[in-house]
Symmetry: C2
Subunit: 558 residues, 2 copies
């Protein structure tokens, strides 16, 4: 694995350069840059959601540094599908240059445009469908239908004189998809016969044995649960999962219930999906949630957001009785969603809250109400055998997933030296059927916090972690500039540290004494005096209380 930073050589003529900026070693912020003949093509531009060691961060963007000086060379951004981890960073890229063309399917572009509208950006777009070809700059693109947990997902084949690349985006191979739109293995076979030189392939479920179950297996379960529900039904799922919502609508209609959407993103996305024909709603089934409360309890299904326990989403607010709809005894809540690692405590808190209110909570743990959107190991083997790619670059996944995917490729006969385990910034050059690592860029995390982008650094996050674990103690002393004598203070204030500040009375004389001693030995510099304060109180807190809060000493001259 190329973790040593090394500058790649100048790109030779006739060579394609592939540089993932995000999505390798992580699940999220997928973005890959393809360079040929001085022009850049970008595939996907997503966000990563922060983990608990990145507190207060709203979003994490790919590091755009390698392309910042080359914005004019970008011929297009291809978006494989409309999930946040593939489109969420587009607004931040277009803020650097707003006229970069976006290419994607109808639903994908509609979702991107709705997002860009909130950022007041109107993009240049090109809508494409499966089977379609487009030439952008030196890149000859062909789009291939793939099946995923959002409709209208596309893989993209990229032809240049350097060879043929296939990037799957996210995909699985449901053999009985709800919309009949299969991952197009005939196209994969055709591309395979032509000769795929480099295969960029989704690794999310590469370490999951077997096959992802059929999406349509969920419908009958939803139907049964709704049929037996004595009162209201509330279903929570991802707001982009059109097929899951379709199954909820169908199960509701079959049981004589109407459906109301709850949550801003659910309402927005399903309006788009229905307008474009991806969501098929029987007449008279949808109802505005404000009118829904006039229906009998056993005639309504609420379709809501918040399946990951997000504190501000509808489901959490319901569990806290902080929403117009207050669940109660006899109500049924279905979490028709995965449980993303890291969200467990939040989700269980919501489940417990709803259970306490008397609701019956049905979830993945006690019923088959969710299947994954990604190809498991068995499906990936099919892919490798049909495509027989010369070289493989597993993408979209943490390290162990990338590794598991490479091993699957090797199991089908692809030589180990042709399976590249990369990380973000790994530069892969392709020419004459040979792919090799040409360098490793040094990329970072770009944090969005409020309206600031890239202002928060890892050092700030480290400070936040200390503050969040231990709180802080600030000590203010005003000293006479000439004599170093204390005029006011030490005043000591703490937050996140203890119930009241009287605990500090015993250390104040120690600080005063330490400052007096320093002043006597001629120390006048306020920074040096601050360090005296820091050492004195830091040692006291550590010895007396076995704690290590952040110490913020401030010596001011007056």
């Amino acid at each position: 694995m190329p973790s040593e930073v090394s500058e790649p050589p100048v790109l030779a003529a006739g060579t394609l350069r592939v540089t993932p900026l995000g999505g390798l070693g992580e699940v999220g912020r997928n973005m890959t840059v393809f360079e040929y003949d001085g022009k850049l093509l970008i595939v996907d531009c997503g966000v990563l959601f922060p983990e608990e060691h990145q507190p207060g961060v709203d979003l994490i963007l790919p590091d755009f540094e390698p392309i910042k000086s080359r914005l004019d060379d970008i011929v297009a951004v291809v978006l494989t599908h409309g999930h946040e981890d593939h489109i969420g960073a587009v607004p931040y890229l277009l803020k650097l240059k707003s006229d970069i063309p976006l290419i994607g399917s109808g639903l994908t572009l509609a979702l991107v445009e709705a997002k860009l509208k909130e950022h007041r950006i109107k993009p240049y777009t090109l809508t494409v469908s499966e089977g379609q070809g487009e030439q952008v700059g030196p890149f000859d693109l062909e789009f291939v239908a793939v099946n995923h947990s959002i409709p209208d997902a596309l893989a993209v084949a990229i032809r240049t004189p350097a060879g043929l690349v296939l990037a799957t985006g996210d995909f699985k191979m449901d053999q009985l998809p709800l919309d009949g739109r299969l991952t197009d293995l005939r196209a994969f076979a055709r591309l395979g016969e032509e000769g795929v030189d480099l295969f960029l392939v989704d690794s999310t479920n590469a370490d999951v044995p077997g096959f992802t179950p059929l999406e349509r297996a969920i419908g009958p379960v939803l139907d049964q649960v709704i049929a037996k529900a004595p009162r209201r039904v509330i279903v929570a799922s991802f707001s982009s999962h059109v097929h899951r919502v379709q199954q909820v609508i169908d199960a509701a209609a079959a049981n004589g219930r109407r459906v109301a959407f709850l949550g801003r993103s659910m309402v927005r996305n399903m309006t788009i999906a229905e307008d474009l024909g991806y969501l098929k709603v029987p007449d008279g089934v949808l109802i505005d949630y404000k009118k829904a409360k006039d229906l009998p309890d056993d005639r309504i299904v609420y379709m809501s957001t918040g399946s990951q326990g997000e504190p501000m989403a509808v489901l959490s607010r319901m569990a806290n009785l902080d929403h117009a709809i207050e669940p109660g005894p006899g109500d049924t809540v279905i979490l028709a969603s995965s449980l993303i690692p890291g969200n467990e405590n939040a989700v269980y808190r919501v489940i417990d809250g709803l259970t306490k209110l008397g609701a019956n909570v049905v979830h993945k743990g006690n019923a088959k109400v969710h299947v994954s959107g990604h190809a498991a190991a068995g499906e990936l083997l099919y892919c490798y055998n049909i495509l027989k790619p010369r070289n493989v670059l597993p993408v979209h996944g943490e390290y162990r997933m990338l590794l598991a995917n490479a091993k699957l490729a090797q199991d089908t006969g692809i030589p180990a030296e042709n399976t590249i385990i990369g990380e973000n910034g790994t530069v892969v050059d392709l020419k004459d059927g040979v792919a090799r690592v040409a360098g490793q860029l040094d990329l970072g995390f770009v944090y969005v916090d409020g309206s600031t982008v890239g202002e928060i650094t890892d050092a700030d996050l480290k400070d936040r972690r200390i503050l969040g674990e231990e709180g802080f103690i600030s000590v203010i002393v005003v000293v006479d500039a000439a004599t170093g004598r204390i005029i006011t203070g030490p005043e000591i204030h703490a937050r996140g540290f203890a119930e009241d500040d009287t605990v500090f009375e015993s250390v104040k004389p120690k600080i005063a004494a330490a400052l007096a001693e320093a002043a006597q030995s001629g120390v006048r510099d306020t920074h040096a005096l601050s360090q005296v304060v820091r050492r004195t109180i830091g040692r006291w807190v550590n010895q007396q209380l076995r704690r290590r809060p952040m110490i913020v000493p401030l010596v001011i001259e007056a």
Copy 2:
């Protein structure tokens, strides 16, 4: 559910009062107080480990408030087994009164004594075995063998003139336990025939359908993995799981490997377990880890702590190359443990780190290397049918688990009104076969942080969460006491907020102006002036940066 606080009546003669202080509505800090005729018996005294919304907290104790004024009435503490969530708070109770007798099995008391030694407390103890009876004050105790993920666990039957109570502690019903020590269903049957008036029963797995698999099913898997391992093997598990460690030792010995213990608690607990005969080590199998490195790589198994991704434990340090043993290609790491909710990200980071170093990581997700220590729904049904208790109080579990357990009891024919869903502080009175909720105490969380106990409050934790999410900005201004004129400042310092403090230059004049205006209108009080500072900079930060850090204004007179 009795969540309104209500003072219980004075305890009537001939009535047994049961008050859980911890473990209801949570997994941890199990502790129940039994009162009869003015005397108190305590069963278990454990700790709860903090979640992410309780940052910086080391441990959470049960709220001892209801017994603090009655320490002299406590006749004994019965400890059902040696896990932290049942014994971890004993040192904090004994710090209030050190001569309260502890009753438990040989292993349980040995583990408690080792813990108390670190707190420099030497307890009064009484060792008991299954089948044994003891009279302590008005309580006639009988101990019953139960099977759990630590040896020598006991249930306790408590007889008073008010009736017969059975408290399971933690248990499961492995029908082929490694040590042959079954949960004693013959004793359960005998107690059931006598008539169990109140059954306090472990709820941890009540919402898990079916039966917990046999512990011995893990042995062959460990054996296979170790047999195939080309180089070193590192197994991580809980440091109290003697049977799991036994299976590792047996698999190692069968494959001609020696075993070295790693991690302070692993070494300590296994030394105790071997000394007392619970762990059976063939001659010449154990080796000190410092000598183990001289062995060939395929002759050693390291048995270590850190299976939950704890940052300071051995396994995390290995993954960060911060340990004498550095895993590398060809090494095999086995996580023979559960994945406790909330630890997922930490554990996956460790797995990824080890995988990057080249190790093959085997875990619950890809091999059968763990089974639970708690009875699942199918086992609990057996219990209810054998015991036929008159009343049931599900304990040890979050609300949904308690509820699932009560439903199982009802499925076997116990009337719903005789299954009590309580919470911590719910007071249950038992007399003449009737159990009823008599009141609800208002109990809190007692946080241990460093050497402080109960100093950190929920308000401090809220401050920590804000600090941890957003950081803080402190503004210091020194003003003239008489005129309110600024002498020094505003000085602005921030932590966890932004890369440098120059961002604040533009707000300083605004603060100065706001203070001048306040001074002009006669405001002199430094607290009022601080509020002026807070409002001015708070509004600016919110509008300019869409952020909400903690604002710490300080106006000092000089």
